[in-house]
């Protein structure tokens, strides 16, 4: 069987019941999808399958013959970041980085499907994606900025509305 991953076609040798996550990480060496729980509970393994955000740890690869898979490596490069990648960098939405790949693909699918900057809608769209570092505020701000089509200057990384200044630092 074969898979197209980030535009490149691959013959897959793994057994049909192997999870897409294991195929990507262990057979193809694409390590941005993470094994956070391998039970569909954390969202760290999320990739796009034919444009839809899916949990790769729950997908047997045998059911995906001919599918188009996109991982974070396929969204953009450091020189040409995609909109959600720019937004996550600008708004400090990636902290330890372990949940980031899954968050980005869910966010990308949300924006591509016409999602708005409404906080409740973003929360719903990212439901089930666990982050233990940020408390989600900066992630939601980043997705909202991407949905609005904000432009970003990564040299300065402007203050986001959720960032307070209690210490009085100027």
């Amino acid at each position: 069987m074969n898979l197209t991953v980030n535009g490149v076609e691959h013959d897959v040798a793994s057994a049909p019941l192997t999870s897409l996550l294991d195929v990507l990480r262990e057979e193809l060496g694409i390590t941005s999808p993470k094994a956070g729980c391998e039970q569909g509970g954390c969202g760290a393994c999320t990739v796009l399958v034919d444009g839809e955000a899916r949990r790769s740890c729950l997908l047997p690869v045998g059911a995906l013959d001919g599918a188009e898979v996109t991982t974070v490596e396929g969204l953009g490069t450091p020189e040409r970041l995609s909109t959600v990648q720019l937004a996550f960098t600008h708004h400090y939405a990636a902290q330890c980085g372990f949940c980031t790949s899954g968050m980005l693909l869910a966010a990308h699918a949300y924006v591509e499907h016409g999602g708005s900057d409404d906080r409740a809608e973003i929360t719903e769209a990212l439901g089930g994606h666990v982050c233990r570092c940020t408390g989600y505020v900066k992630i939601i701000e980043a997705v909202a900025a991407a949905a609005r089509g904000d432009s970003f200057d990564l040299e300065t990384t402007a203050a986001s509305p959720g960032m307070t200044n209690i210490g009085g630092v100027r």
């Binding site: 509970g41 974070v72 490596e73 980085g97 982050c131 990384t157």
Partner: protein
């Protein structure tokens, strides 16, 4: 000072969003073996027999280790600070908590490693566990640790962390009322998105390269070297990329065992815990039991505090004596109480060993003291801001362990909280500062505790 207050890009931000950050599990070394652990299925048992030969003879199994393979079986996480060791790297005579590692297998793939673990024959004599710290002191409680049910090795071989300051009897004789409270925060699992993971590569020059998700690389370096009884220059640790830790990756959970397997098999080995293992077997924030009795006056002064703390260390000491010491130094919170009697115990139970988590030892006591301040205000019918501002630490006040405060932030912090909450403070509270006590804020009972901030 251009960086202070500026919005600077994260140095690893672009790596994170392009999937190029290399976490331990992303390191690929050809020929790497998978590791699985045989863990204690019960809370407490004596080990009657352990036969690993069925696992060793399985096809695809390259190494099996037990306590017999560890050059120095017991080494404490705080041995360098003089805190004695109590925990074997792999269980030997008895099992003290559910999930405790007993034997490890390195095999060609995950399935083979798991099958080999299941083939190991373990003969146990199950014992009554101790799971509640309050029961540890009962005469009929099972004794579950070689040192007894609580840690006995504080300074001067005291069995508790004890603080005495001022004259607590005077305080309770002169109180208008006594306000009591019991506070019991529960265990919390850190739940990093990246579970515990380690990769060890045996190099041709006899050294080991250890890829670790630890938060404390030099702790791990010392701990691995001690267990292996090798000089530090035999170990190269690669770390700094942590997929969430929050204190739970301070313990050296995997590195030593993987090093032993790498040496025994001569192959690179990787051990990645499942989410289930992370929940059931990794260390947690400790459960605490705190009892506070405060001698208070009806106008809101706290004359004295008696406090008893039980710190659930789980099955072994690890960092708990250090955590309880921090706790004791902070047991008046951000407030000045001149007369104190504090007793704190590190209590052993048959639960997973507990460890650091965000504000180790202090978060528990902050929860208790702040809740207690509000309780005092409620009992006395006073404003909770007023009672906090009145008793707040000021320059020249002293901490429970006698440190003179030179720049305490309690007053401006409470004023900032009032602002954030939209609370109007009366003029005399609004103009308060951290400056030394005087006038009505320096009653007779607070004079003796004052120190000289210049001498600090």
């Amino acid at each position: 000072m251009k960086a202070v207050g500026a919005r600077l890009p994260r140095y690893d931000g672009v790596e994170h969003v392009t999937g190029r950050t290399t976490f331990v599990d992303d390191v690929r070394v050809p020929g790497t073996l998978w590791v699985k652990a045989l863990r204690s299925p019960v809370h407490r048992a004596d080990v009657k027999g352990l036969d690993t030969s069925p696992a060793e003879s399985m096809k695809g199994v390259h190494a099996v280790i037990t306590w017999r393979d560890v050059p120095l079986l017991e080494y404490g996480h705080l041995s360098a600070l003089g805190i004695p060791a109590d925990e074997p790297l792999l269980a030997k005579d008895d099992l003290r908590y559910k999930g405790q590692p007993i034997a490890l297998v390195a095999a060609e793939d995950e399935e083979t490693a798991q099958a080999a673990v299941e083939a190991i024959v373990l003969d146990l004599d199950e014992q009554e566990p101790l799971l509640d710290i309050r029961r540890a002191f009962d005469a009929d409680a099972p004794v579950i640790h070689q040192w007894g049910n609580w840690y006995p090795h504080f300074e001067a071989e005291m069995d508790r962390r004890q603080i005495r300051k001022g004259d607590v009897d005077w305080a309770f004789e002169h109180a208008d009322t006594v306000v009591q409270g019991v506070y019991r925060p529960a265990a919390i699992e850190h739940v990093p998105l990246e579970t515990q993971v380690c990769l060890v590569v045996p190099e041709a020059n006899g050294r080991l390269t250890i890829y670790s998700c630890t938060q404390a690389l030099y702790f791990s370096l010392g701990v691995v070297a001690a267990h292996l009884q090798v000089p530090l220059n035999k170990l190269k640790l690669v770390g700094g990329t942590v997929g969430g830790g929050f204190g739970g990756k301070v313990d050296t959970a995997t590195e030593t065992m993987c090093s032993l397997l790498a040496l025994k098999s001569g192959r690179p080995v990787k051990w990645r815990w499942t989410r289930e293992e992370e929940f059931l077997c990794s260390s947690t924030r400790a459960p605490w039991h705190m009892e506070i009795a405060d001698a208070v006056t009806k106008d809101g002064w706290i004359l004295g505090r008696k406090m008893l703390t039980l710190h659930d260390s789980g099955a072994y000491a690890r960092f708990s004596p250090y955590g309880l010491t921090k706790h004791s130094f902070h047991h008046t919170g951000a407030y000045t109480i001149p007369n104190l009697s504090f007793d704190g115990y590190v209590v052993f139970t048959n639960r997973v060993p507990t460890t650091a988590m965000r504000g180790f030892g202090v978060t528990s006591v902050s929860f208790a003291t702040e809740t207690h301040m509000s309780r005092i205000a409620e009992v006395l019918g006073l404003d909770p801001y007023e009672i906090r501002l009145k008793n707040a630490n000021r320059i020249g006040d002293t901490s429970p362990n006698g440190v003179v405060y030179t720049d305490p932030s309690t007053v401006p912090t409470i004023q900032a909280i009032a602002d954030a909450m939209g609370r109007e403070l009366p003029a005399d509270h609004r103009t308060m500062s951290r400056q030394p006590r005087e006038g009505s804020l320096l009653p007779e009972h607070l004079v003796a505790q004052l120190g000289n901030p210049e001498e600090h």
